[in-house]
């Protein structure tokens, strides 16, 4: 058992996948960094992406498999689709999910659809690793989550792990999966730690996790929101309110059963998602609950999300934008008293 950061866990999963399967390659901007020439060995690989997640891979596995790309997402995302169809297992890095716009065609129209529209002969085993989330004072174009943008599209799978354990186990699965997977890493979680067994097995996609058992209210928390949910649950526990926290971990496919079981038990539910509210994971999950668990509900489903605005820059505004433990506590109290 070793304590790992999310960042280390992801790097470990990449190294392990590279070692286990020679068809795994990685493409992305600055994933190595440097001058790309042998005489500059010391500077090569010094960056490993803006968060250092891929550091060491270029040195370890070489430039043939670890390809530092031009700033041309449509080019190398499309290349990943073609490489995946013909036998490789490419992982491509979208430096920030906010850059999705410049290569969305490759995801939405090619990666997601080739199998379906060309008669089921192709498969596209590629993974898009991308960085999401507010709380970095990074402004409107480097802070979104956009989970539901991808979860909306048939043919794509969407994974958003909370802790290092899940990050490693789910990335191993995502790389082994034969469908295109969007693997979303939250920038504010990279340095958080937990125990990760060295021999951790891949965690199947589509299986959620009960992070805390409880009896009075179910909190369905998306990615970083688990942090606030756990914090809120502690305070509420001291008031005699028992919270159950569910982390779905993957959003397409979604572990509906796990969510429904919890809701049927507690009858009261809050969905918390850092995204903008309209057509979000929170709206999707709450609508599923209303549709499938209505007779069990003792009160209407509550949603806590960011407001319907871009992510603001200035700290007081950004802190206001992000859902908080305080908002969860207030919502739970309201539900309990309802």
């Amino acid at each position: 058992m070793t304590i790992k950061t999310v960042k280390e866990a992801i790097n470990d999963a990449l190294v392990q996948s590279f070692e286990e399967d020679k068809n795994v390659i990685l493409m992305g901007e600055d994933i190595a960094g440097g001058k790309g020439r042998e005489q500059y060995q010391g500077t090569q690989d010094a960056w490993g992406g803006p968060f250092g997640v891929t550091q060491g891979l270029f040195t370890k596995f070489g430039g043939e498999r670890v390809r530092d790309t031009t700033i041309a997402e449509a080019g190398f995302f499309g290349a990943a689709v073609g490489a995946a169809m013909t036998g490789l297992r490419p992982i491509v890095e979208l430096m920030y999910v906010d850059f999705a716009g410049v290569c969305f065609d490759q995801m939405m129209n090619q990666a997601a659809k080739v199998r379906y529209m060309f008669g089921g002969k192709q498969k596209v085993p590629m993974v898009v690793r991308t960085v999401v989330g507010a709380g970095f004072r990074a402004g409107s174009e480097h802070s979104q989550t956009l989970y539901s943008l991808y979860a909306h599209i048939p043919g794509l799978k969407v994974v958003a792990p909370y802790d290092a354990y899940d990050a490693k186990g789910l990335l191993l699965s995502s790389i082994q999966d034969d469908d295109p997977v969007i693997f979303m890493e939250h920038k504010r979680l990279y340095m958080t730690t937990c125990e990760v067994p060295d021999d951790l097995k891949p965690i199947p996609l589509g299986k959620g996790r009960v992070r805390k058992s409880g009896t009075d209210v179910s909190i369905i928390a998306v990615q970083r929101m688990n942090l606030f949910a756990e914090d809120a649950a502690k305070t509420l526990e001291s008031e005699g309110i028992s919270c159950e926290i569910i982390d779905p971990r993957t959003y397409s496919p979604l572990d509906e059963e796990l969510i429904f079981e919890s809701v049927k038990k507690t009858g009261k539910v809050i969905v918390i998602d850092e995204s903008n509210p309209k057509c979000s994971l929170a709206s999707e999950i709450s609508s599923l609950i209303s549709e499938k668990c209505f007779p069990y509900l003792k009160a209407g489903v509550k949603k806590i999300t960011a407001p319907h605005t871009p992510v603001p820059f200035s700290p007081p505004m950004e802190d206001f934008y992000i859902p908080s433990s305080k908002k969860i506590i207030e919502a739970v109290r309201e539900l309990i008293n309802a």
């Binding site: 043939e64 031009t70 080019g75 499309g78 073609g82 410049v102 080739v114 199998r115 060309f118 589509g206």
Partner: protein
Amino acid sequence: MKIEKEKINWIYKKLFTIRYFEERIKKIAKEKTVPGYLHTCIGSEAICVGVMAALEKDDWISSTYRNHGHAIAKDCNLNEITSEIYGRSSGICKGRGGSMHISDFDRGMLGSFGIVAAGPPVVLGAALQEKINKGKKMSASFFGDGAIHNGAFHEAAGLAQLWKIPMLFICENNGYAEATATDWHLNTKELSDITKAYNMKAYQGDGNDVFEVYKITKNAILESKKNEIPIFLEFKNYRFSGQYEGDTQLYQPKEELENAKKNDPIKIAKENATNYELDISEIAKIQNEALAEVNNAFTYADTQPWPKPEDALEEVYVNYPPEYN
């Protein structure tokens, strides 16, 4: 360049098959008996056939929504192609693609993409795979003149040159990007001049002469593989059809259309037949065979069953999440 008799016959057969097929489709489009959009490739037969004659059977290609000629020249099953256009369950994509997406992965078709310039990056990826795995297959992306203004093309071109990826960028310069003339939107004198920014090798050829297309492509494949470089090929021809069937083509000057007929690729191929030791009776025999195959394909498609409505739910994923069933 000596071309085997068998290949010459194949080339003529494919030229006629594509022409007859597209003429038939145009007729059907007028009768409105098939669903969906139809983009015919009359005028680009020589490019489809010349390039495919130079490629090996299992080499990788990408095509576009104007794909009937590529699919036929890539030896896709004609009955299945027609069935697909008719939306039947025996279609080459099981009825899920339609005319714009006719593609057979088993024949090396990575896909026929409805989005302009979607193909070049995908083919770059297949070519990258061949390079990494030291494979032997060539990779070629077909696109129209409109695609050269799109970022996806430029990004693929830049990466292909940077990474020394053997592949072909094949531009069918047919004079029109949808309804707008190519030369109106071109910033360079020649279309292929745009490759200069990437220091990419480029060759131009007469896209109406199937043997010129074949020879240029054959040499480009050798050069691309030997020097590990991408090569851009620009073949000029004329789009006799509109952007799609039903297009009134009012934007194409009548005299331009009339002039272009002098260089009709089928006409040129017939004129050149004697250079390749084909006589009139052999040509007639090949024409008859091609016509019979096309007729059969349409009869076949017409009698094929529709897919079951719920077949729409199949093959979105490889590992199907149970919630989607």
